[in-house]
Symmetry: C2
Subunit: 556 residues, 2 copies
C-alpha cells in the first residue's frame, strides 16, 4: 500500500471548475486560488436561497482512542460512494489547523483512497481563512489595549479583559504572559495570553454566521471585558466589529476542493470541539444542501461531544434538519474500549470486543434521542477478523441497528457502496424527526444537567456556587436562551479520560463557565482544557522540508 | 476630483491573464487568486534565466515630509507612461503591511490616476505572503522555546534568545512581554516581545533570496540565540529551516496585478526600510527584468536611506545594474525643507523653496556617486505655481540635472510622458556605470563611516567601545564581508529628525548593532527605531466596515 501522500500526489486532479460543474456552480461564481481550490462567491450563494435542501447526513464516531477511528476518511468515502451509485452528493468537512502540522506528524485530509486534495495546500495556508481569523481576532485585542491606553473612556477593568490573543501555532510559551512591559509608551502591564486560532470565538462565529450581516452582528456581541461593576464591554463598544468583518469578508466564502475521486468537497472553518462546537461552517453546509441531493458532514471527537453539539448548537441555531447519522467505529477502537492495550489491538479478541461494544451501543441510543436513525460504519482494518466483524454486526442488530463494513481506505468508493445505499434508504425514508435534546427555555444549569444525564449518563452535575451564580447572572442579562457547549475529555463519556466503555453513576464537575456571546453559547468546562498546544520533544517540523524535486516532504 | 477609492472602484480591470500576456507570460504559468491577482509560478521563472535583462530604473525621493512626496504614485505613473509611449514596461513595488491600515487611515497602492488594483485586496490579505512570513517566523520562535523546554541540548542561554515573534498588527502591548508564565508546563519565564511582520528578518530574507534553495540557506543562517560562551545558535541548529521554507514556498512567487491603465505591476515583499533594506523582492525584480524592456522599481523613504540600501544591499547582493534614477520631489516638500510650516505649504514661497532645494541637490549628488544618472520628477500639486516650478527646474539645471513636471496623479500616464521619454533616453544611452558605494573588504565600521560621511555628510561616527568590539567579533566570525544597513530617522540626512535641508558637520551615533546573518547585513541603529507601531487615539479601524452595497468603507 502506498502512503497517503504518495496516493495524494498520484491523484489525477481535475480543474476546480469541473468539480464545481458537478454541482452546477458556474465558473463566474468561483474565486479560484490556483487551478484546484476555489471559494464559492457570496452573491451566487445568495441566489440559492429559494432552492430546496438536499438530505443532510452526519458522520460521527465512538469515543476516540489511540487506535484511530477514521471519521474524516469515512466521510470522504461515503461522499464518493454516494456519487458512485449515481447520487448528486457533496461532503462538508473542517479545515485543518496549520500549527499542529508542525507538532505531531500528520495532516487532516482523510487517508488511503479516501482523501481530499490538494492535500499540502489544505494542510498549510489553504485559502487563508485561518490567517484572516487570526488577524481579526488580534485586531480586536490590539484595539482593546489601545482603548485603555488612550484614556479608557469605557472604564474597562483592565484585570477583567477576557479577550486573549491567538496564533495558529503550537507555542506553549505564549499561554500565559505579561504584556505591556517596558514603560509608559507600551501601556499598562497586564496578564494576557494566546490560544491557538481554532480556539478563537471568531472561528466559532464564522462557522455559525449565516451571512456577512450576521457575522458582523455576532462579532459585535463578543464580550471582551468587564467593568469594575461587572457590566460587560463588547466588541461593538470597542468599534472593532466593522473592521473585523472586512478582514473576514473573503474567509466567509466556503472553499471548494475535490476528493481523490474528483467529487466535490467543501472544506470550511474548523472550531475547537471542546470549548466550541467543532463543526464546519453553517454557510458551507447550507450552500452544499442547496447544490447537492445528499450532503455528508462530520462533527468533532465522539458522538457524546461532536454529535451532541452538532445537533444542539449547529442544527438548532441554523435550522438544519439532519436525516441520518453514521457512527464510525473500528474493531480496534472497540477492543481498546474493552480493555485491550494499544500494542495488542491487532490480535483477535472477541471477548474484549464484546465488552467494548457498549461504547458503540450508548452512542447509538444517544443519537436516537435526537430523532435520527443511526447506522454503524465499521471502518475496516486488515487485522480485523471475520469473527470480530460478525460480533459487532450482531451487537448492532440487537439494538435494532445495522453495522456495515466499509473499505474506503483500501478501495475508495467501491468499499463504501453498501453504506451509501443504506444511508440513501434512511434519508429517503423521510422518517427522521430531528429535535434538539433540550428546549431553549430551560435554565442554563438544567441544560448542562440534561446533557450530562441523558448523553453522558452521569448521576449528577456538581458546581460551586460561584459557577451557579454566574449562570444565573447571564440568564438575568438575557443569555438564558443560549445552548450550552460542553468542554470535557473526548476519551470517555465521563470527565475521566480513563473510564472507557460506557461508564455510569459518575459525576460531572463544572469547574468554570464562559460566555461566548457572539458565537451564541455558554461553555461549561468540565476538566482541564488546553487551548494552546505545545510542540513535542521532536516536532514534526524538524523533518519537514522540500525534497530534491521540490515536493514537500515530512508533512504527513 | 474623485477619491482614490472611487477611482479604484471605477477602474475597468482586465483579467490578470491579459495583463500577463502583455509580458508574454502564458496562462499556465499563473497561479490565480481570483480573476485579478496571480502568482507567477516558480518553474516559469526558472525557465527565463538565459534571457537578457531589461533596463532597471529606480524611483527614490527627497527626505519624507508631512507634505507627502508620492513615490509609489510616480512609480506607477512612470510605468504607465512607458507603456503609453510604446515600451514594454513593468513596475515592481512593495506589498503594503496589513496592520497599519487599521491605524492611520490610508492604504499603500498609489493614488489618484496612478494606482495599482484591486486596491482593497492589495491592502488586506492579498495573496497571503505576509501571513506566511508571520507563520514561518513564529514557528521558529516556538521551536526555540520548545528546544529549551525539552532539555536544551544546544545549551542556549535563554537570556540571549534574540529571535522575537511577529504579528502584522499595530499592537504596542506586545512590544515587551514576559512569556512562559504559569508553571512548569509552560516553559521558563523569559523576556520576549513582538515586532510587526515587515520587521521580520524572514521578510528581508524572502526579499533577497534568489530561489527556494537560497531561501532555505539564508533561513538556516539566521542567528536565533547565543550560548553562555557567546557562540551563536542558528535556525539550522534548531532544524526549523526546512519547515519554514515549506511555509514560504508559495510566498516566494511574485504577485502580478495591474495599474489603473491595465499595465503589469509586480507587488512582492515589503521589508522595513530602517532595520532592513526596504525594497521589493529580488525575485520579482529579476523576473520583471527578464520579461520587460523597462522595469521601474522604488525604494523606501528618501534616497539617503532607500536608494543607498537599494544600491549597497539589494543591487550588490543580487548583481543588479540599475540604469537610471528618478528622484521624486514636491514643491511642498521642498518648501517644508526650506522652513515653511505644514499649514502654509499651499502658499507660494519662492524664497523658502530655493532654500529647501538643497535637500534635493544633495540627493542628486549622492545618487551620482553610484554611477547612475538621476532625473528629478516634480510630482505636481494644484497649488504649485509656475514660478515655483521654474525655481526647482533652474536649480536642477545648475547641478546639470533635469527636473520634469509630472501630472500622473491628475492625468495618469498622459501626465508623465515627458519623464518617461527622458528615462528611456538615459537608460538607452548606456552611460550608467553602477557600482556600490564601498567595497566588501572594508571593515564593518569603515562601511558605516563611508555611508555616514559620503551620503549623510556627517563629520564623524560615534560608537561605544562595546559596539566597536561587537563589529570586530562579527568580522572574526566571518561576517566582515557583509554590507551595512543603516537604521536612522528618514526625515533628515542626520540622525536628528528636525535638521531639514542638507545639514553638515553633524555626528552619527551608532547606539547598537544587530546581525541579520540570514538576510546578509549588519544593522547599525542610529537613534530610536520602533519595530512595533501602536494604534492612534482613534484608529482607522473604528471607521472601517462594509457599506450597504457590500463594499469596503473607511479603509482609504
Amino acid at each position: 500500500m502506498k502512503s497517503d501522500i504518495e496516493i495524494a500526489r498520484a491523484a489525477s486532479m481535475k480543474p476546480v471548475t469541473e468539480i464545481a460543474a458537478k454541482l452546477d456552480i458556474p465558473g463566474e461564481a468561483l474565486q479560484q486560488y490556483g487551478p484546484y481550490k476555489a471559494k464559492v462567491a457570496a452573491p451566487f450563494i445568495g441566489s440559492l436561497k429559494d432552492r430546496k435542501d438536499g438530505g443532510l447526513v452526519l458522520v460521527t464516531a465512538v469515543n476516540p482512542t489511540p487506535a484511530g477511528e477514521g471519521k474524516t476518511t469515512t466521510t470522504v468515502g461515503l461522499g464518493d460512494a454516494l456519487n458512485r451509485i449515481g447520487k448528486k452528493a457533496a461532503i462538508c468537512i473542517r479545515e485543518p489547523s496549520l500549527g499542529p502540522c508542525f507538532g505531531m506528524k500528520g495532516g487532516a485530509a482523510g487517508g488511503g483512497m479516501a482523501q481530499v486534495v490538494p492535500m499540502e495546500d489544505i494542510n498549510l495556508h489553504f485559502t487563508g481563512d485561518f490567517h484572516a481569523i487570526t488577524s481579526a481576532h488580534n485586531l480586536l485585542a490590539a484595539m482593546i489595549d489601545n482603548h485603555i491606553y488612550w484614556g479608557n473612556a469605557l472604564e474597562i477593568d483592565q484585570r477583567r479583559v477576557v479577550w486573549r490573543r491567538v496564533l495558529d501555532m503550537n507555542d506553549r510559551a505564549l499561554r500565559s504572559i505579561v504584556s505591556s512591559l517596558g514603560g509608559v509608551a507600551n501601556g499598562f502591564p497586564s496578564e494576557a495570553g494566546f490560544d491557538i486560532t481554532v480556539a478563537s470565538e471568531v472561528m466559532a462565529i464564522l462557522c455559525l454566521a449565516t451571512d456577512l450581516a450576521d457575522l458582523q452582528k455576532r462579532l459585535g456581541d463578543i464580550i471582551v471585558a468587564y467593568r469594575r461593576d461587572k457590566s460587560a464591554v463588547t466588541c461593538r463598544d470597542i468599534k472593532a466589529d466593522g473592521a473585523m468583518t472586512v478582514l473576514l469578508k473573503e474567509a466567509m466564502q466556503p472553499n471548494l476542493v475535490q476528493t481523490l475521486e474528483n467529487n466535490p468537497a467543501f472544506i470550511h472553518g474548523g472550531p475547537f470541539a471542546n470549548i466550541a462546537h467543532g463543526c464546519n461552517s453553517v454557510i458551507a453546509t447550507k450552500t452544499a444542501l442547496k447544490l447537492a441531493d445528499y450532503v455528508v458532514t462530520e462533527a468533532g471527537f465522539g458522538a457524546d461531544l461532536g454529535a451532541e453539539k452538532f445537533f444542539d448548537i449547529k442544527c438548532r441555531k441554523a435550522g438544519l434538519k439532519p436525516k441520518a447519522v453514521v457512527i464510525v467505529a473500528t474493531i480496534r477502537a472497540l477492543k481498546y474500549n474493552g480493555g485491550v492495550k494499544k500494542d495488542a489491538l491487532t490480535e483477535e479478541n472477541v471477548a474484549a470486543l464484546k465488552k467494548g461494544c457498549v461504547n458503540l451501543g450508548r452512542h447509538i441510543k444517544n443519537v436516537r434521542q435526537f430523532g435520527v436513525t443511526a447506522v454503524v460504519a465499521i471502518n475496516h482494518f486488515t487485522s480485523d477478523t471475520d469473527a470480530e466483524v460478525a460480533t459487532v454486526q450482531a451487537y448492532a442488530e440487537e439494538l435494532g441497528a445495522e453495522a456495515i463494513v466499509c473499505r474506503h481506505w483500501a478501495d475508495g468508493s467501491a468499499g463504501t457502496e453498501d453504506l451509501a445505499r443504506r444511508v440513501v434508504e434512511i434519508v429517503d425514508s423521510g422518517t427522521a424527526q430531528f429535535a434538539p435534546l433540550y428546549k431553549d427555555h430551560l435554565s442554563l444549569f438544567e441544560k448542562i444537567e440534561t446533557v450530562a444525564k441523558r448523553i453522558y449518563r452521569a448521576d449528577e452535575v456538581m458546581a460551586d456556587q460561584s459557577v451557579r451564580d454566574q449562570l444565573k447572572a447571564w440568564e438575568a442579562a438575557g443569555f438564558g436562551d443560549l445552548p450550552v457547549c460542553m468542554a470535557k475529555t473526548q476519551y470517555s463519556f465521563s470527565t475521566d479520560p480513563t473510564l472507557l466503555g460506557a461508564p455510569e453513576h459518575h459525576s460531572v464537575a463544572v469547574r468554570e463557565v464562559r460566555l461566548s456571546a457572539g458565537a451564541g453559547f455558554v461553555v461549561a468546562i468540565c476538566g482541564s482544557i488546553m487551548t494552546m498546544p505545545g510542540l513535542p520533544r521532536v516536532p514534526a517540523a524538524e523533518g519537514i522540508g522540500l525534497g530534491p524535486d521540490g515536493e514537500i516532504e515530512g508533512l504527513f
